[in-house]
């Protein structure tokens, strides 16, 4: 069996909402199935330092405080853009949470009107309306887009009925371009913008989302989907799901 090689972008800078937990969950769920899993930490600087870049089959990036996002911004746009562009185009899997989801879009318009160019790989843009509109904070639940949930790999690993749960905390509101596929449709909470019911985005086999909590700890089926998809496996050996199912059931009642 081949190995899951997770490329973890900017671990030191972008780990605001327990993002690290996502990588911990992926590697724990691999270990329980005797799937080899390794993590390549990708920090600021030139990518030529990473010999196994082409072997990465799951790319992960979290979110951070404003100051940290500013500190990686230039590097992200200049040093990482070509790699991420090719990575997504090749159909490999990725997960971009919160701040990094925003940075993958076309632009981010701050409350003062200043526009920050994004990577433009996700057909979406984000606007911060300042104090006029409250931050989107709280527990959130959604139904995964059928585009993803009808994927046979997803069906094989899903034991939670195509739903996804989490916690969101974002000031910016994200709007998808016409034709872009949301990751999910919100059933409780705000999602992308608290207006159109969409949450996140799917581009190729990459997911952008506002769900943290961390998302993969709360949604083990999504973690398994990413593992299977990254390794080109039709399904994965089942794990004891008692606790995660109980946790998921309890979460559904949360307001």
């Amino acid at each position: 069996m081949n190995k899951l090689l997770i490329g973890y972008l900017y671990k030191d800078e972008l780990n605001l909402y327990g993002d690290n937990g996502n990588v911990e969950v992926l590697s724990a769920r691999c270990a329980r199935r005797d799937i080899e899993c390794e993590i390549v930490l990708i920090s600021k600087g030139n990518l030529s330092a990473y010999a196994r870049l082409s072997e990465i089959n799951l790319l992960f990036m979290g979110g951070g405080p404003d100051s940290s996002q500013k500190s990686i911004y230039g590097d992200f746009l200049e040093e990482k853009e070509p790699f991420i562009r090719d990575y997504i185009a090749s159909g490999k899997t990725g997960l971009f949470v919160c701040g990094s989801y925003q940075l993958m879009g076309d632009y981010y318009r701050a409350a003062d009107g200043a526009e920050l160019k994004g990577l433009g790989l996700f057909k979406a843009h984000t606007i911060h309306f300042g104090k006029n509109r409250p931050r989107c904070i709280g527990n959130v639940r959604a139904k995964i887009n059928s585009k993803l949930s009808s994927d046979q790999v997803f069906k094989n690993v899903d034991f939670l009925g195509g739903a996804v749960i989490g916690f969101e905390n974002h000031g910016g509101r994200t709007y998808l371009d016409a034709g872009a596929a949301p990751f999910a449709h919100v059933t409780y909470g705000h999602g992308n913008n608290s207006e159109d019911g969409t949450e996140g985005i799917i581009v190729g086999n990459c997911i952008g989302t506002y769900f943290h909590g961390p998302i993969l700890a709360k949604n083990p089926h999504l973690a398994d989907y990413l593992i299977a998809k990254s390794l080109n496996l039709p399904e994965l050996p089942k794990l004891n799901a008692g606790l995660t199912v109980a946790s998921y059931t309890a979460s559904k009642k949360l307001r």
Binding site: L16, P65, D66, T244, S247
Partner: protein, 380 residues
């Protein structure tokens, strides 16, 4: 005006006590601030020597209690907010309650713990001699926002105030980067070498809190040896290393409200693991806790694993399952029957077991509720 406000708050205090409305401690302050918005600036409210504020993410309650203990041991009359009511209302309540109506002895010192977000507002209104800044780390992101912004607000508030001294810990880079331009004397708590602290004190309390107290006390004219001596009979604040015997089982309460405090308490627990046969985690997501519990993944899984190894594990609270899943991913074996969101239910199971000494790691509201259940009353 101050006299009238004092009269009214005294009446309210008596009323609250009469009806034993335990949580009503912040009402008098709330009413006083409404009646007399400038009450905190009134000169009659100031203690005769000065006010010290203690703020930071972790250690406020313990450090405040420690400093009060030392000052009281020296014979000073000290006003404080021992209940931990550290927002503007609670601070006003404590100060008013410590101000005599007639010409009885006024307090010498006020030692007040202040919520990190509220500190600038308090500094604006209250005449303060010194502040102790303990630390700042991730806590309640949904309420406070990011730590950078809090540091900026602190720096600005200190520079716009007339305080004489700031005690802080320069081993933290974020404190080294702060620049104070108001002429306040900056005292580095880290100047006290760790090995000079008595072992028994270090075992029970965080060294950084002890150092902050020693530094402040020394600035106030109390020599190092005397402070150490005064601290020998210091008892932990409620829920912070406190031991409560309930039905023959010793519950040791270690408040664990954010990644830094859970990490520090797990490390402290590990050193004396043999004293315990079980661990209970209680995780809530009420407003005072912060609604977001993702922080449990900011605690090193290897630390969780080594602390829990060999102990019976129980998990409860509104977010008990989130905690159980987190422990499970850290590699801790969890029995599903030892996980329930209901605290009374988990207590039944603990009572049925052979557990005699259990370490409890509750977050904030969980600690208050649990403590109330064990003691049958609210704090203080």
């Amino acid at each position: 005006m101050l006299f009238l406000t004092l009269l009214i708050t005294r009446f309210l205090e008596a009323f609250i006590r009469l009806l034993s409305l335990g949580s009503g401690g912040t009402w008098p302050g709330h009413v006083a601030l409404k009646l007399y918005p400038g009450v905190l600036s009134a000169s009659g409210i100031s203690p005769s020597i000065g006010t010290v504020l203690i703020s930071g993410t972790n250690g406020k309650t313990t450090t405040t209690k420690m400093l009060c203990h030392v000052l009281r041991g020296k014979g000073f009359v000290v006003t404080t907010n021992a209940s931990g009511a550290n927002l503007l209302n609670g601070i006003a309540s404590s100060l008013l309650s410590g101000t005599p109506l007639f010409d009885k002895r006024r307090a010498d010192y006020a030692v007040l713990e202040v919520d990190e977000f509220t500190l600038p507002t308090v500094l604006e209104q209250l005449k303060v001699k010194g502040i102790v800044l303990l630390n700042l780390s991730r806590d309640q992101l949904d309420r406070y926002g990011e730590t950078d912004l809090i540091l900026e607000r602190w720096e600005k508030a200190v520079n716009e105030s007339e305080i004489n001294y700031v005690v802080l810990d320069k081993s933290f880079e974020y404190f080294r980067e702060m620049s104070f331009t108001s002429g306040a004397e900056v005292l580095n708590a880290e100047d006290i070498p760790e090995e000079t602290l008595p072992e028994d004190l270090k075992e029970r309390f965080h060294a950084k809190n002890i150092k902050a107290v020693l530094t402040t006390a020394s600035f106030l004219g109390i020599p190092f040896e005397e402070t150490v001596l005064l601290l020998t009979d210091f008892q932990a604040a409620y829920g912070r290393g406190e031991i409560i015997d309930f039905g023959g089982i010793n519950f040791h309460l270690f408040l664990a409200k954010n990644p830094a405090s859970l990490t520090a308490n797990l490390k402290a627990f590990e050193k004396r693991k043999n004293d315990f046969d079980a661990v209970l985690f209680i995780l809530n997501d009420n407003i005072p806790d912060g609604r977001d519990v993702s922080w449990i993944y900011d605690v090193e899984p290897l630390l969780i694993l080594s602390a829990c190894a060999g102990k019976e594990i129980y998990v409860s609270g509104v977010r008990g399952f989130d905690m159980a899943v987190r422990l499970d991913y850290a590699g801790v074996p969890i029995l599903e029957e030892n996980v329930t969101t209901s605290v009374p239910e988990i207590m039944k199971r603990i009572k049925k077991s052979s557990v005699k000494n259990i370490a409890v790691f509750p977050n904030y509201s969980a600690m208050l509720d649990f403590r109330k259940m064990l003691t049958g009353r609210k704090i203080l």
